[in-house]
């Protein structure tokens, strides 16, 4: 290491779009102006995980962790910290952190985390292959090519217990084996980077922060199953990840780590990028393959499984980004090391995009078996504004709502499915007392109905019916007998739909009916929405005792439903009111009632 100090600047989407690019330039400029170019290197890394408090800057080797840094702070960081060695305490996460303890180990957010998949995210410059190589990058590929037979690689992966992180949790080694035993000939290795769960960005961050780990794993998988071509199917909405992947592929070719005759081993492997075109169902593997082939992305029945008959009829392995990012580590550290992490049935770690009503939104990686309570309250810092936790949803629109009584359940594939949810790809949305369960359920159904490809009737028709019932309930027009119908439709959809989208679309309905029946009942019977979300069930009025006549509400009301003289109590004309809630938000004296 030629430099004495390093400034790591987060280049993840949340930070970079929050003037992060300007910040990076400002830091570079300040380093130059202070004559430090030979001593200090400014590095743009992938997401450091603590997105809520971005933009994040980390100084090495001191490991100082600065949050919410603005371009205007660059000068001070360089002059104070780098030149004079004085920590800029106003930019620390905890302003009272002691001088010696200003690194990430002093922050709860990182304490319970364990990073395998995200090992390089926020550590290396993703655009520099040398930095990846310096952290054992491409060593696993070299090991596979020169010290292991394809069979051995598959054995190692099987024994590690690694299961697919794309949602279904299928054992990765077994999947590879299915494709490997197919007769030699054209085979394909596909990386699923479609990341359809709305509200999740694990795969995106992995690709943005450490693209080579996925390329290396694809080459290893290609070697073990006998494929010479790989495709990465990635959402077109991920421009930064695409750009970093393209650059990484180019560099890997220049270093002879991709392309013909890799490192002189005789094994050749090429990777092409294909951009998804905005259809959630294309994350489903058979639909994804149809899309790569240039067709409408509709699922087809399995069997035949892609491992037997996939892309253009050839044996094809499809793996999720996070699944792949584990592979190089498993080969280097061995299956024993890996299988010691996690629970009996679920090995290793899981990356979650922890979002919603949580203090520390961000990207986290925890060992399987960690409890929701640890994730939400220790890592996530609890619920925003001190509100009460209501539910957490894993698995996005395919998952279920987890109520407070399961906060202490260790998270793994089996436990989640026992309580009516799924592991999913890693979205973890936290809801508080202000979220309305029927309303959020309707949100998920709205999504799946919108994204249903329409090929099979249970999903196409059932989904729409469920959505109608939910809309009625939220509008105050629901009936109690609707509940039984919803349950029956949900059952039918899970059993008879062609693909996972339809089979799981009713999970939010089923789980919310199971755990939050009282809220449904309130909507249907009492015509009340306790969270204050369902407009038709609300009424607004002004408490004349609290109202000081400031006129703020009258000015904001879009339909002039509020009358009253200045300094006199105001009144709402409920016939005119459209229940927009703006008066409620704007009143500084809590004089507007919502019930």
């Amino acid at each position: 290491m030629a430099y004495k100090q390093y400034i790591l600047v987060c280049g993840g989407t949340a930070c970079e779009s929050n003037r992060g690019i300007e910040l990076f330039a400002a830091l570079k400029k300040a380093v130059e102006e202070n004559g430090l170019v030979n001593d200090v290197q400014v590095v743009r890394t992938g997401c450091l995980g603590f997105c809520e408090k971005g933009p994040i800057v980390k100084i090495l080797p001191q490991d100082t962790f600065y949050v919410e840094v603005k371009p205007e702070d660059a000068e001070e960081i360089v002059k104070e910290h780098l030149v004079k060695g004085r920590v800029v305490s106003r930019l620390l996460y905890d302003k009272n952190q002691s001088k010696r303890n200003v690194g990430i180990e002093g922050i709860d957010f990182y304490q319970k985390q364990f990073r395998i998949v995200l090992r390089n995210c926020g550590v290396i410059d993703p655009d520099k292959i040398d930095e990846y190589i310096a952290r054992d990058g491409y060593k696993a590929l070299e090991k596979a090519l020169f010290e292991m037979k394809p069979r051995d690689v598959i054995d190692e992966v099987s024994k590690s217990g690694l299961r697919g992180r794309g949602g279904a949790g299928f054992p990765t080694g077994k999947k590879w084996e299915f494709a490997a035993v197919q007769p030699a000939g054209q085979k394909y290795m596909v990386c699923n980077a479609d990341e359809g769960d709305p509200g999740a960005y694990m795969d995106r961050s992995t690709l943005e922060g450490d693209p080579h780990s996925v390329l290396e794993a694809m080459a290893i998988a290609g070697y073990s199953i006998g494929a010479d071509t790989g495709f990465i199917y990635i959402r077109a909405e991920y421009p930064l990840a695409i750009q970093r992947l393209e650059n990484a592929i180019k560099q890997a070719h220049e270093y002879g780590l991709l392309g013909k005759n890799i490192l002189g081993s005789g094994f050749s492997f090429n990777i092409e990028i294909r951009l998804g075109a905005g259809a959630f169902v294309c994350g489903e593997e058979t639909a994804l393959l149809a899309s790569i082939e240039g067709k409408r992305g509709m699922p087809s029945p399995r069997p035949p499984f892609p491992a037997v008959k996939g892309l253009w009829g050839c044996p094809t392995v499809i793996n999720n980004v996070e699944t792949l990012a584990n592979i190089p580590v498993i080969l280097l550290k061995g299956n024993l090391w890996f299988s010691k992490i996690g629970t009996a049935t679920s090995k290793g770690t899981k990356v979650f995009a922890l979002t919603g009503k949580i203090n520390n939104s961000g990207l986290i990686e925890v060992p399987m078996g960690t409890t929701l309570r640890e994730i939400i309250f220790d890592i996530g810092g609890g619920i925003r504004g001190g509100k009460a936790f209501k539910a957490a949803q894993t698995g996005g629109p395919s998952g279920g709502m987890i109520p407070p009584q399961f906060l202490d359940t260790p998270i793994d594939y089996e436990n989640l499915s026992k309580i009516g949810s799924i592991m999913g790809s890693g979205g973890l949305i936290v809801m508080d007392e202000d979220d309305c369960i029927p309303d959020v359920t309707k949100f998920y159904l709205d999504f799946t109905v919108d994204e249903s490809c329409g090929k099979c009737a249970p999903c196409r028709i059932g989904g729409r019916k469920l959505l109608n019932y939910l809309a009625n309930i939220c509008n105050g027009e629901g009936k109690l007998e609707d509940i039984d119908k919803m349950l029956a439709i949900s059952e039918a959809m899970s059993r008879a739909s062609l693909c996972g989208l339809g089979q799981t679309a009713s999970n939010p309905v089923q789980s919310s009916l199971r755990y939050f029946m009282d809220e449904y009942r309130e909507h249907i019977v009492d015509k009340k929405c306790r969270a204050g979300k369902c407009k038709n069930l609300l009424s607004y009025s002004i408490n004349t005792e609290k109202c000081v006549g400031c006129t703020a509400c009258a000015r904001v009301c879009p339909v002039n439903a509020i009358a009253g003289e200045r300094k006199q109590p105001h009144v709402i004309d409920s016939a005119k009111c459209i229940k927009c809630g703006q008066c409620f938000d704007v009143c500084k004296f809590n004089a507007v009632n919502r019930s």
Partner: protein, 184 residues
């Protein structure tokens, strides 16, 4: 979805309407030439064409179908299947309000409603003066800063419904970018 920088970069064009008809036609020919013989080349060809034209006019779809030797109905079927493709020209500013779950629970829908009201258009529509189009997105990867709005390639974080009107005016007057994109 916008003609995201990814596909724009693939064609390298400026797509400002500055290019002449003949240049556009030549561009389309070269796109067809490049992808025609690639397995699965239809979707990349359509993506690149959309980056060039800003949308996919009927003539373009017809020409691509011809070039690929496929029935127009098949190509049109592909175009209408994917939400990325658009058959109509869009506004100078494409506003995409994130309705991913994280943004939804932090008020994304109220932000969307505010845009609808201010711009007087619905989702999928363009203002008559062709300045704004309104769309919804599903997670831009900045959930920590929810609710999030993208205007072309710029990300606006922690957007408040009450400030949407102001934001639109600033975009129009070209001062929005200088304004920090955090509304916290």
């Amino acid at each position: 979805m916008t003609d995201s920088s990814a596909t724009a970069a693939a064609c390298g064009c400026q797509c400002d309407g500055a290019s002449s008809e003949t240049e556009l036609a030549a561009g389309l020919d070269s796109i067809i030439g490049e992808y025609r013989d690639k397995p699965g080349g239809l979707i990349p060809a359509l993506q690149t064409a959309q980056a060039l034209f800003g949308y996919l006019p009927e003539e373009v779809i017809r020409k691509i179908a011809d070039g690929f030797g496929k029935p127009v109905s098949e190509v049109a079927g592909v175009v209408t299947f994917y939400s990325f493709f658009t058959l109509h020209p869009r506004g100078k500013f494409v506003v995409r309000v994130c309705l991913g779950t994280a943004c939804y629970v932090r008020g994304g829908k109220e932000v969307l409603d505010a845009f609808k009201k201010k711009l007087e258009i619905d989702v999928g529509e363009t203002t008559p003066d062709r300045m704004f189009s309104l769309e919804v997105g599903r997670c831009f990867g900045a959930c920590g800063m929810a609710p999030v709005v993208m205007v072309n390639d710029d990300v606006y974080q922690r957007v408040k419904p009450a400030l949407v009107g102001e934001l639109v005016n600033k975009i129009l007057s070209g001062t929005a970018a200088a304004e920090v994109k955090e509304m916290a």
